[in-house]
Each structure stands twice: as structure tokens, then as C-alpha cells.
């Protein structure tokens, strides 16, 4: 399927879903006016990509500097889908990058790890 690339704006993240290489990445800022409008096509592409996968190694890199409350909900939904794909027999590694003095983003990475036991989550501090 076609890769998904959405360039960053000052209020929305860069989305690089390289489905061919099984590498998904989200980076930048996320506070679009309407998070469900922004994330809907991303969710749809992710669902279409994950549905047929079996025994595939997927790497996910998240390096977000800020996300608002509505984006938080959408990001959680992305990880619920990835966890389901891991439960279904794939291997999903998540690299969650955050600024060491940003407790909120680091703790949210921890929560994702707790919520999604099938994911291999690595909490990484940005230098």
C-alpha cells in the first residue's frame, strides 16, 4: 500500500508512515484545530496497513514536543491499534522520545507501555 507522508505545520506533526519498510514515525507539535479531522485519514491508513499483517516487525518512532488534549486521545487510539496488531502476532517496537524535563510526555509514554503490554516500548530521553 501507499506510504503516508504529511509534512509538519506549526501546529500539526510530521507523519511518516513508511508502510513498505514497516517504519512509522510521528514528530513535531500536535494541536490542530480539530484533532479528529486531522487524525481520521491517519487512522484509516493505519487500519488498512495493519489488517492483513502477520508476523511482521514494525518500528514506531514518536518524537513529539507538545500535543494538546484532543491529540492525546488520538495518539492513544493509534497505540490501541498497534497493540491489537501485536496481540494478533506482529512484533511492534515503540521508541518514545521525550525531553528529560518534560514529565508529562514521558509519563504518557509510560502509560502507553502499561496500557499496551503487547508492545515493546522504549522510553528514550532526547539529548
Amino acid at each position: 500500500m501507499q506510504n503516508l507522508h504529511i509534512p509538519a505545520t506549526s501546529y500539526s506533526p510530521q507523519v511518516d508512515f513508511d508502510f513498505a519498510r514497516h517504519h512509522l514515525s510521528l514528530s513535531g507539535e500536535s494541536y490542530p484545530e480539530n484533532a479528529s479531522v486531522f487524525f481520521a485519514p491517519i487512522m484509516a491508513a493505519l487500519d488498512a496497513y495493519l489488517a492483513p499483517l502477520d508476523h511482521v516487525r514494525i518500528t514506531v518512532d514518536v518524537q513529539l514536543a507538545y500535543f494538546n488534549s484532543a491529540s492525546t486521545k488520538a495518539i492513544l487510539a493509534i497505540f490501541e491499534r498497534l497493540n491489537a496488531a501485536a496481540v494478533a502476532g506482529n512484533y511492534v517496537t515503540v521508541n518514545w522520545h521525550s525531553d528529560p524535563d518534560d514529565d508529562t510526555i514521558m509519563e504518557f509514554g509510560q502509560e502507553i507501555a502499561e496500557d499496551s503490554p503487547a508492545l515493546d516500548v522504549h522510553l528514550l530521553a532526547l539529548a
Binding site: S10, Y11, Y31, P32, E33, N34, A35, V37, Y66, N68, S69, A70, T72, K73, L76, D99, D101, D102, D103, T104, E111, D115
Partner: protein, 186 residues
């Protein structure tokens, strides 16, 4: 308004250490541009990295609240994107703390709903607020909410003391519209 009034207006802002003030119409483009300006302005203050992040977070949640919910809008009332709505927002510094205040008109019939969302937060500890946030984040959306329904909780979570709010009848008690004020200290 004579120039003398403008001077008094500025002087009051200076006395209250207002770092940033905007009143008028809020759109996503304006929120984003103000956010950039606020970040640069905060870089010139003594605010710690943690304070800057919390302030920015509160600023965005409050400003996007105006874009989504202010009762006075230029965009169609049923739109959920590309909205432009009226409000005001202040950021100031007092005794080493920062505060963010926002004000926007709301329909009187919404007052009860807003009060019901905010009142329980006032007596809660920071840990309780975090727990409630976690729980709400994982529950279904409030039907009337355009975001995740987590805006007020996010503001309360970032704040270092309980949030303050009020409703002021600018156009008398019979007007269908009242002004909603919300203040958070960081």
C-alpha cells in the same frame, strides 16, 4: 476612547504584569501565531522549562476552547473546523508565578454544564486530577465536546493551585449570553 483611556489601560496592564493580552476573534491561525509569540516572550522571562511547557499547554487549551465554544462566532454555528469565535486571553506574571486567564461569551443554558465540569476539580489534589484525567482519556467522548472533553482537566492538571472561574453578566441578568472567565496559575 481618548488616548488618556488607552494610557490607563496600558498602565493597569503594566501594574498587573501582563505579559501578553489579546481580545477579539480567535481562529486556529491566530492561536498558532500567538502561541509562537508567547513562547518567544517566555524565553525572555525567568520561567523554568517546566513552567514554560505548562503555560503553553494551558494557553493552547484555553485558546482552542474559545475557537470551539465561544457563543459569538463569525463562522457558521454548526461548523467543527475553520472556526472563528470571540474571546480574550491574558498571560501575566505575579510573585514568581504566571497566570493565564481567558474569557468568552457562553449561552446562559451552558452555565450549569460548565460549572458541573469545573466545580469537582476545585477541591481535588494534583494526584486526583491526574487519575481523573487518565480515566477520562480512556472513556467515551462527551457528546457535546468537539475535542476530547479534556480541556478543563488539562488546565487543572497543569495549574499549581486550584483553577478559578466566574460568570459575569455584562448585558444584565436577562441576556441569553454571559461571560465565562477561567484562570489558572502556573
Amino acid at each position: 476612547m481618548s488616548l488618556d483611556h488607552f494610557y490607563r489601560f496600558q498602565d493597569l496592564a503594566r501594574q498587573q504584569s501582563v505579559v501578553f493580552y489579546y481580545t477579539g476573534y480567535f481562529s486556529q491561525a491566530i492561536v498558532s501565531a500567538m502561541g509562537d509569540a508567547l513562547r518567544q516572550r517566555l524565553n525572555q522571562t525567568d520561567a523554568s522549562n517546566v513552567q514554560r511547557r505548562k503555560l503553553f499547554s494551558v494557553f493552547i487549551e484555553m485558546a482552542q476552547n474559545v475557537v470551539h465554544y465561544s457563543a459569538e462566532h463569525l463562522s457558521a454555528s454548526d461548523s467543527t473546523d475553520q472556526e472563528i469565535r470571540r474571546g480574550a486571553l491574558w498571560v501575566g506574571e505575579q510573585n514568581g508565578h504566571f497566570y493565564v486567564v481567558c474569557a468568552n461569551p457562553v449561552a446562559r443554558e451552558q452555565v450549569g454544564r460548565i460549572r458541573d465540569k469545573l466545580m469537582p476539580l476545585l477541591g481535588m489534589s494534583n494526584d486526583d486530577i491526574k487519575q481523573l484525567y487518565k480515566q477520562k482519556l480512556r472513556s467515551d467522548n462527551d457528546a457535546e465536546s468537539k475535542g476530547a472533553g479534556l480541556g478543563f482537566l488539562t488546565v487543572a492538571r497543569e495549574a499549581t493551585e486550584p483553577v478559578e472561574f466566574d460568570f459575569i453578566d455584562e448585558d444584565g441578568p436577562l441576556s441569553p449570553i454571559t461571560m465565562f472567565y477561567l484562570k489558572a496559575s502556573i
